[in-house]
Amino acid sequence: MSYWYDAHLILIQSTFVSLLLALSIQFPLRMGVFSFAGIGSYGIGAYAAAIMTIRYSWPAFAAIGAGMVVAMVAGYLLALLVSRLDGLYLGMATIAFTLILTVVAINGGSLTGGAQGLYGAISTLQTGQVILVCAVVVVLLALSERGRMGRRIDAVREDPELAVSVGIRVIRMRRMAFVVSGALGACAGGMNALLRTTVSPDDVGFSLVVLALTMIIVGGSRSWAGALIGSVIFTWLPQVLQAVGDWQTVVYGVIVALTAVYVPSGLLGVAQNGYRRMRRRSGPVAGATEKATGSEEPGGDSAPLEPLSEDVPTGGTR
């Protein structure tokens, strides 16, 4: 176990970093905000943490925190700017934001180390600490998926106008999405920079946008668990695919395409369906809560020609 742990330490660390990164895209997406600014924040966090560590020898959490603060402020300002954008237009604007940051990093001179990036960011950040942070984040996000907050987030995504009419301050929620996404992205970036001790402009770019998106769509876009599934798969897949030798990139593509096509609700959805089916099979008591709500009987048991017998859930999807 410990041998396995040591040998796969990097992948374990990367899984958690990817999880935070995926969440930084997923969180806004849950509110219907198609923002890739989280990737830019990843860059901000990575550079800020590296600079603070190398130049000023800040302790790990202070360095990461500094990046998070910068990214949150940047996220808030960005949210103010792009308040009128939505859908893929917003996606494009935030990709532009990310790419501009990359160019800035390349041209940042000695501060960012130019094309070469920064190295030697040696800190005391431990894997356990990374996991702890992820656990806290996941708990908070899991809470935001349930109850009041969960419903409100759903409303903002599905029908912002309706959301407004029940008193949800949609604009404020959207801004919050940018800020949270910035914090998560920067946290991921900062941790990665300190764990790897380096950061370079290569680390942040369109390919990372593509990777993060793939993770959450294949895993499941509505829940943190989906992001977790996605980050586990796409961190470990290259390792597993060593077995197929130099076909690995081909197989990787095939797997991504297949899951996108045949697993519409993400792997999380598949898992949930399987679980439900299992529970249903495991006995009538457990299955009782799942009882159908009457939609299976058109017209219910009301007498004919008495159309509106009370409370019978009859169909008709409009």
Partner: protein, 238 residues
């Protein structure tokens, strides 16, 4: 002209239609009544080829059309005005209408377009505007006009009066009658039974996926159970 014979339709395990038979003949209006979820819309959608039938058949001009892909059925002269309008929101009013005439020859389509504009002047006014910006009632007119554009011989209408102001309902129903008189067979689903019965020739009442009454409109108007169910107690006491 149109014959629906013992149609059965299911959505997964849900049996929405369980043996509906009805027919529509040129120049006649067949009114379909029934409670929410009785299977009226499902019947119409199945006839139009949008939902597969489990069993039973639909015969149009002696040809069985069940199982044929939806887009081929319009070419045979059968068109559906869908429930809830479903106009193409981002397209202009005129584009919506032209699309209705997708299967008609161009010249014919231009001619019908003028007729539709004449029937609904507001549509002519808004021809270059996006259909999605029309008011609910205006959209209903557009959906109606769009269906007319294909110069159908059989027309299915799913709740054409929904959301229309009384005057407009009257003119739409007037138009429906006119269309029928021009020799088109009409099958109309309507919640507004009182009005529907006024223009209908035949009536089919559906409950829980089954036909519970079928006959001439006159007969339906006097059938107490139909009246109670669809016109309200007040009508009965009148």
């Amino acid at each position: 002209m149109l014959e629906i014979r013992d149609l059965h339709v299911s959505y997964g395990k849900v049996e929405a239609v369980r043996g509906v038979s009805a027919s529509a003949a040129p120049g006649r209006i067949t009114l379909v009544l029934g409670a929410n979820g009785a299977g009226k819309s499902t019947t119409l959608r199945t006839v139009a080829g949008l939902v597969p039938a489990v069993s039973g058949e639909v015969v149009l001009d002696g040809k069985v059309i069940t199982g044929r892909p939806g887009h081929t059925i319009v070419r045979d002269g059968l068109v559906l005005v869908p429930e809830g309008r479903r106009v193409f929101a981002p397209l202009t009013v005129e584009e919506n209408l032209l699309l209705g005439g997708y299967v008609a020859p161009r010249a014919k389509s231009a001619e019908t377009l003028d007729r539709v504009y004449e029937m609904f002047p507001i549509l002519a006014q808004r021809r270059r505007g996006a259909a999605g910006l029309l008011s609910g009632g205006e959209q209903q007119m557009l959906a109606f006009g769009r269906a007319l554009m294909s110069s159908p011989r059989v027309m299915l209408m799913d709740e054409p009066s929904m959301g229309l102001a009384p005057a407009m309902v009257e003119s739409v129903f007037g138009a429906v009658r006119e269309i029928a008189d021009a020799g088109i067979a009409l099958l109309v689903v309507e919640q507004n039974a009182e009005l529907g019965l006024e223009i209908a020739d035949d009536v089919v009442v559906v409950a829980r996926g089954e036909v519970v009454f079928s006959g001439e409109a006159e007969q339906a108007r006097s059938d107490a159970s139909v009246v109670r169910a669809f016109l309200g107690e007040a009508a009965l006491s009148q």
